[in-house]
Symmetry: D2
Subunit: 367 residues, 4 copies
C-alpha cells in the first residue's frame, strides 16, 4: 500500500486532492446494525470546517458528506461505507506562482523528489483538506464506540504558542472557536491571534485528546501497542511533530516511585501511564498530546529554490490558517477514535472467550 489506508480491521482508505473535484473515503469493517446517517458525521465535520471564525482560513467549504454505500434503511450493513465530499470553493489561480517553486517548510520539495510530478494547487494531496475524510470516518468509529462501549473521546487546545490552557472545562471546549478548555482565556487567545494575523506570521500549538470508558485489555503487544498505534495515528496528522502518552516527556525526569501508578482495590491512584501499560489499555483514561508546528504557508517572504535549482523568494498567497493547531482538535479526536475502534475489533477477534476477571479498576485521579 502507498499509505493511504489506516487500520487493520476497521480500515479507512482516503483519496482526493485539495483542488480536485472531490475527496472520499472507504470505511471497511464497520460492524452491521449501527444506526448511521449523514447528519451524524456532519457535527464533527463542521467543527473541523474552515471559515468558522476569523482565526482560521477563509476558504468556504460546506464539507457536506454523502454516504454512498454500506448503510441501508438507516443502519450499517457490514459492507464498506463509501464517503464523498465535493470540493466547492477552490481558487486554484492563487497557486500558479508556486507551480515551479518549493515553499519552505512545505511538502512541495519532497513530493517533487518522490513522484517527479505533483498537483501543486493548494498542496494537492498533502493538503490538510484530506483530514476532513478522517473526521468523517472517525465519526463512524466514535458512534460505535460510544453506543457499544460507552466510550467518550474529547479533545482540546492545551497550548497556543506561549499561552498554556488548563483543562478546566474540557466538556465545553466546543463552545469557543479555539477549542479552549479554559473559557476565561478566550479573550487572551483572540488578542494573540489578531496580532499574529496582522503580523503575517504563524504559530505552533499543543492539542490534547482523551478517551474515557475504554475497557482494560485493548492493544496488541509487541509492535501494535495501543500507544504505538496512537503515536502512528497522531503523527500522521499534518503538521504534528511530537506525540506524548500520559506523562510523556515529563517521564524523563521522573523517578520510578513517582511515575508508577499505584493500585488500590478501588482503582488507580494516578495516571502517568496515560491509560496504557505494556501497550494495553488499563481501563483508565487514554490520554495523548501532540505538538503542532506553525503553518509554513505564510505571506512573509522566505528563501527557497525553484525546480531548476535557482534561488527564489517565496510568498504564500491563498487562504491559510495562521495556527493549524486550532482546527486540529476534531482531527486528533477522530484519529484516536480510529485507533480505539481498530483495537476493539482486534481484541475481540482473539480474546472473545477470555473469562471476565472480576476486576474493574476505576481511575481515581483527582478524586
Amino acid at each position: 500500500m502507498s499509505g493511504n489506508s489506516f487500520g487493520r480491521l476497521f480500515v479507512v482508505s482516503t483519496f482526493g486532492e485539495s483542488h480536485g473535484p472531490a475527496l472520499g473515503a472507504v470505511v471497511d469493517g464497520c460492524p452491521p446494525g449501527l444506526e448511521l446517517c449523514e447528519a451524524d458525521l456532519q457535527f464533527d465535520l463542521d467543527r473541523r470546517r474552515p471559515g468558522q471564525s476569523r482565526h482560521t482560513t477563509q476558504r468556504r467549504e460546506p464539507d457536506q458528506v454523502r454516504i454512498l454505500s454500506g448503510v441501508f434503511e438507516g443502519r450499517t450493513t457490514g459492507t464498506p461505507i463509501g464517503l464523498l465530499i465535493e470540493n466547492v470553493d477552490q481558487r486554484s489561480k492563487d497557486y500558479g506562482d508556486i507551480q515551479d517553486r518549493f515553499r519552505p517548510g512545505h511538502a512541495d520539495y519532497t513530493y517533487h523528489q518522490k513522484y517527479g510530478v505533483r498537483d501543486y494547487r493548494g498542496g494537492g494531496r498533502s493538503s490538510a483538506r484530506e483530514t476532513a475524510l478522517r473526521v468523517a470516518a472517525g465519526g463512524i468509529a466514535r458512534r460505535y464506540l460510544e453506543q457499544r462501549y460507552g466510550i467518550t473521546i474529547r479533545g482540546w487546545l492545551s497550548q497556543l504558542g506561549p499561552i498554556e490552557l488548563e483543562p478546566k472545562q474540557p466538556e465545553i471546549a466546543n463552545d469557543n472557536p479555539f477549542f479552549s478548555p479554559d473559557p476565561d482565556k478566550v479573550p487572551e487567545l483572540e488578542e494573540y491571534m489578531d496580532a499574529l494575523r496582522k503580523s503575517g506570521d504563524s504559530i505552533g500549538a499543543r492539542v490534547t485528546v482523551e478517551a474515557t470508558g475504554v475497557p482494560a485489555g485493548w492493544g496488541e503487544p509487541v509492535f501494535d501497542r495501543l500507544d504505538a498505534d496512537l503515536a502512528h495515528a497522531l503523527m500522521s496528522i499534518n503538521a504534528v511533530k511530537g506525540v506524548e502518552i500520559g506523562a510523556g516527556f515529563e517521564s524523563v525526569t521522573q523517578r520510578g516511585t513517582e511515575h508508577r501508578d499505584e493500585i488500590t482495590p478501588e482503582g488507580f491512584l494516578s495516571n502517568h501511564a496515560g491509560g496504557v501499560l505494556g501497550g494495553i489499555s488499563t481501563g483508565q483514561a487514554v490520554h495523548a498530546s501532540i505538538a503542532m508546528k506553525p503553518t509554513s504557508s505564510i505571506r512573509l517572504p522566505g528563501r527557497s529554490i525553484n525546480t531548476a535549482g535557482e534561488p527564489v523568494e517565496v510568498v504564500t498567497k491563498g487562504r491559510h490558517d495562521p495556527c493549524v493547531g486550532i482546527r486540529a482538535t476534531p482531527i486528533a479526536e477522530a484519529m484516536m477514535a480510529l485507533v480505539l475502534m481498530d483495537h476493539a475489533l482486534r481484541h475481540r477477534a482473539q480474546n472473545a472467550d477470555v473469562p471476565d476477571s472480576g476486576l474493574e479498576l476505576r481511575d481515581l485521579l483527582g478524586e
Copy 2:
C-alpha cells in the same frame, strides 16, 4: 495479526518470552546478495546486552544469535531469515511472588485482563528482552542501508533524569556505558546512577537517534508517513512515553518564520523538520527523540492488588535496570533502521522509474 510483526515489505516477526527456552525472529523481505554473518549482528546485540556495566541489570545473557535460514555461502538469498537467541540465565524463582499480584506501572494487570493467563516469569512477553531480536533484525536493515545507500544511523543518550547531554561527540557515544555523546559528563552520570541504585529507585531518560544519508523522497503519505511510522516504531519500544521528530514539542512555541527551514541552492539552512516534510524525507538528517519512563521494577514497596482484588504491597525482586533508557540507544537505532529499510523498499516499488530531478540539497545545519 496480533501485533508481533513490524513493517510492510521488510517484515520482522518476533516471538519468545523472557524466561522461555528461546526468543526468535523471522525477517522477511531482505533483498538477496547482502553479505551477512552472525558476527555482523552481534556488535549491536552486545551493545544492548545486559550486564555490560554496573549501571544495568546483572542478568548474564550472552545473547548469541544464530541465523537459521535465508543466508547461503555468506550472502542473503531473498528468502526469510530465521534468527534465534536462546535464554541462558533465567532465575525464574525470583518471580514466584508476583505470580498473583500486579506490579504497579507494569504490564501484569493489563496482560491479565486481556488474556486471562500470563507467563509472569520476568515479565514474559512484555519483557524488554524481546528487543534483542529487534536489534538483531535491525542490524540486517542497517547493513543494507549502509552498503546500498550510505546511510548511517547513530543514537545517544540525550538526558538522564536531570542531566542533559549535548551531542558534542555522538560518534563516540559507544565508548562509554551510558551512550553519552558528551564524554565529560560521564563521571556525573556515574555518580548519579550509583546514588540512584543505592536508593532503590529508578529514573527516566531521553534518547536521540539520527540517520544521515537518507535520500529525499522516502515515506508514504498520508497515513504511512515516514515520521508517523517512526513514531509507531519508537513508541513500540518498552517504556517509551513520547516521540519527537525534529523540533518536536519546541514547535509549539515557534513562529512560522522561525520553524520553516529555508532553502538555498546549496541546501537547507536549518532542520526543525527533522528531515521529514509532508511525511517524506527531505534528504536532511532524519532526527527523532524519545522519552523513556523510569522502570517500574524497583525494590521500593508500592501499593497494588492481587488477582483476587485484595490490596497488597509489591516489592520487585529480580535483576533490573535502574534506568532502562541507558540500554535503549541500540534499540532506538534498530527501530529507525527497520522503518527506513521498509520505506526504502516501498519507495522503489512505486517510484522506480521517476527520473532524477537533478536536485540534491545538503543539510547546511551548523556549517
Copy 3:
C-alpha cells in the same frame, strides 16, 4: 479488513451496492507519470457492461466512470486514484418479494446469517455489479503493464455449457458478444442461448485468460506465489467455482516426463506449468482458466425458506444473465492485471538490484 481490498502494493478497495446511489473504488499505489484518462478505462467497462446483446441482462447501465483524484494534467501523480460509477437504472421494486426469503444458490442466506441485516435489492453488495470497479481498476494496471513491460492480457470464453471453444483466434474474441475465440462457433452459441433463455434456465461456462510478455521472476514464494494469488483473485469473482493454472486438473493423470516443460537454449518446449514454477513466473505465457457456475437467479421456481424458517417457493424476477460466464471475460482479465501489477511492484521492491542473468527463454509452444 473486511475483505473489500485487494493487493499488497497496488491496492484496490471497492465499495457500493447494486441499487445504492453509486459504486466506487480507491486505487492506491499506482506509479506516477502514467498517462491516464477516463476514456482509457471505459473500453473494458463497455465490454463488461450489461445490455450489450440479447444474451445478457437487459439492465441499462452506462457504467460511466469518473476519476476523482490521483490524476493531474493527464498523468497519474502517485496519489490514490478515486473512481466513481453512479447507478442509473435500478428497478428496486423487482426485489420486494425476496426481502424476506432466500434465493437458492444465492448469497441471501449467508449474508443474513453473517450480518443479520442486508440490502436485498439486486443482491446488494453480493451483486456482480461490484466487478465493474474491478474492471476499471484493472484497466489502470493493464495500461501500466503494457506501457512499462509490454504485457498483453487476453481472455476468452473457452466453454459454454456443452460447447467447447478452441482458441483459434483469441485476438478477435472481442468482436462477438460471447468473447468466443472461435468465430465459427458463434451461430451455435446464439442458438444455444436463445433456447436456454426461452427455457428460463441458466448454464455454466469456462473462461480462459492469458498474459504474454510477463518477465521471469515475478511472484513471492511461499504463500504469495503468483499462481496462488491468481487463484485468490479469480476465485473471488462472483460465481467462480474452480481455478486452473496451466495444465490444471489434467495434471492429475499426467506423468512427470509428460508434464515437465523441457528447456532448450531457445526456450521452453511446452507450457504445462502455465508460466509459473515454484510460484514465480518463468517468462512464458501466464495461463489460467476458471469454472463459472450457472446463475442462480432464474425464473424457474425453486424450493427455499423465508427468514422465519418457513418453506417458500422462490421465483427470481429482475433482469439477469442466463450465463454469467459471458460477461466474465473482462473481469477475469482485470483480476489477472491486478495480480500481475501487484507482483511487478513487489518484485522490484526486493529485487531491484539483482543483476541480469543474461538468460531470456522464449515460449516455444506451438512453433
Copy 4:
C-alpha cells in the same frame, strides 16, 4: 511482505530451507487458554513425514517440533507461538551437479531469475519440506476449531493418476499409506506405484479436503471470500495446479436448476456450492479439491540448460516422492484449517454482536 506469511488475524510466518540447520514458524494470533503441547502437533507431522512407506521419499526426518514460546503451563497465552524443526538427514552432496543447471519443471530457473542466487541443495526454500511447518501451525488451528466450534477437517486422496477413489470411508483414510478413502483400492494403488517407481517416472494426483461443523456466516466478501482464501491457500501448496470448490469444473456444464442447492426448513438438499455462497459459509460441509502435478524430480533424463545458457541433460538424483500427492493430504487439511481459523477470528471481530437468526440449516446431502 515477501510472501512467507499467511493469514490476517491468525498469521503463520515460516522460514527455513531443505538443507539448512532448521525450519521454523511463528504463529501469531492464537487465542489464549488453548491446551497445547508438542505431541498435539506431532500426530499430523507424522502423517506428512517422509519415509513412512516405500511409496514416498526415503529421506529419514523425524520432523520433531519444538514449541519455543507462547505456551505456559500447558496452555497458550495469546503471545506468538514459535515452532522449530531441525533438519537431521540432509544429503547435500546429492545436489552438487544441479548447482549450475535448471531441472525442468522445477523452481531452479525461476529462483535464479528472481534472486540471482539460490540455495540449490534439495530445492532450498522451494522444497516441500517447508510444508512441515504449515502442518504444525495448522495443527494448532485444528485443535482450536475442534474444541471451540466442533469442526472436523478431513482429507483424502481422491485420484492417483488414472485410479479414481470414491470417499467410501474417508474416516479411515489415515489407516493406509495412500490416504485412500476406499480401502479396497489399496492393492491397486500399491501395484501402480511399484510399477511407477520401477519406471523412474512420476504421476499426478487429486486430493479432496472437507470441513464439517463450520458455522454459517464465515468469510468476507468481496475479495477475501472464504472460497477465494481457500483457493489461495491450496494453490500455495507445492505442485498444486488447480483448485475446485464444491462442484468445481462440473459447474461448467450444469444448468441453474441442477446446480443451485435448494433449501427446506430442515436444510440444504444438495451441496454443489461446496458450503460457500457469496464467499460466506452456509453451514454445510466446506468442500475443496486440488490437482497436483507429477513431481519434476525424476531420474529419467530431461533436456534443459545451465546457468551459462548451454544445453544440458538433467537427471535428478536425491530421494524424491514419485507422487507428491500422497503426502499432500495432511498439508491440504492444514491449509484449510488455517483459512477457517483466520475467518473464525475475522468473523467475530466484526460480527460479534449480530443476534442469532434462529436458523440453522443442516446438510441433508445423502440422507
